[in-house]
């Protein structure tokens, strides 16, 4: 059986993705984790902020695995980008537009209020960007251009999630994915010409 600490982190991660930080109370986290109140401050002396930051990092690491899982078997980076956005669109539709980015809501909520959690979000985004950069550089794109494309890809995905959830439509994911894939295609063509 998973230990109490792990259950607290996993319950928080799920709740933060669905309803953000402000809407998630300690009581709800403890109930979902089947954990006693005393366990929270035992495992997380920094309280909700410390637990939240760890939940953000855990979700971030889990989603980071999608990058090698999709990019590495793909025939080329533009195909991987298209598959990534198509997969995100499918998952969003399948979850009735609930499961988008695990940390975007939290990130917007805490950016001006909690340095601990803001830093956790920033670290996660940076890890995703770095992971994409490694793969673009391996395809022959320069380090600088790879970073631009990686940032643009993560930004396009996050922004498309905002529009897609509001509109209950995957149109924004399709459009943003295609534009990003085209930019990657052009960078590859320039790099190999």
């Amino acid at each position: 059986m998973r230990d109490t600490r792990q259950r607290l982190v996993e319950a928080s991660a799920t709740l933060l993705q669905r309803q953000g930080l402000t809407g998630t109370g300690i009581k709800q986290i403890l109930a979902e984790a089947h954990a006693p109140y005393s366990s929270l401050y035992h495992h997380f002396p920094g309280g909700k902020e410390q637990l939240g930051a760890e939940a953000v990092r855990t979700s971030g690491a889990l989603y980071a695995q999608l990058i090698p899982a999709i990019f590495d078997p793909a025939p080329d980076p533009p195909t991987a980008v298209r598959m990534f956005f198509a997969g995100a669109a499918e998952h969003l539709r399948d979850t009735d537009y609930a499961d988008a980015c695990p940390i975007a809501t939290v990130s917007l909520e805490v950016s001006s209020t909690s340095e601990t959690m803001r830093e956790a979000c920033a670290e996660v985004f940076e890890s995703w960007i770095d992971s994409c950069v490694v793969r673009l550089v391996a395809s022959g794109v320069s380090e600088g251009k790879s970073r631009e494309l990686a940032i643009a890809m993560v930004a396009a995905l996050e922004g498309a999630f905002v529009l897609a959830r509001a509109a209950r439509s995957t149109e924004a994911l399709a459009v943003a994915g295609e534009l990003t894939a085209s930019a990657v295609e052009q960078a590859l063509a320039q790099a190999t010409s």
Copy 2:
């Protein structure tokens, strides 16, 4: 002096932008608006949801004015896109990374919980997209391609805001703006060739 109804809407709009819906209580809205409790249900029988939806539409309409204000005097759409993202970056820095999109946080929070507010957010995003489409079509880009570019621009801006606020850096806005401007440039070149 502005009337009570208007003060309620404006106070809500400001609070929603800074802290989202879940973190904004009715008491805080009433205090900021210097309005008595009875005025809330007098003006908004639907309560916090109805007031929130009107605040979203009001913020959306205010920000929508930036599109003609920036696009119409600009020499061409790619220049307008660059100015738009540069202006957003400057404003974000000037407000210590607090003022990004007025409705993105709310939009992510309510997309799965309030149809009334989700629809208000979707309407606002659609109005911004439509306003960009009109301007791209006027420059000679086809209706279909204009819609793709407009969606991609709004998505890039929203996603770049998420990354920029978390990282406390405007790098994502610069990168996403340049990528979007380049895509608009290419579409214009194809349209006029």
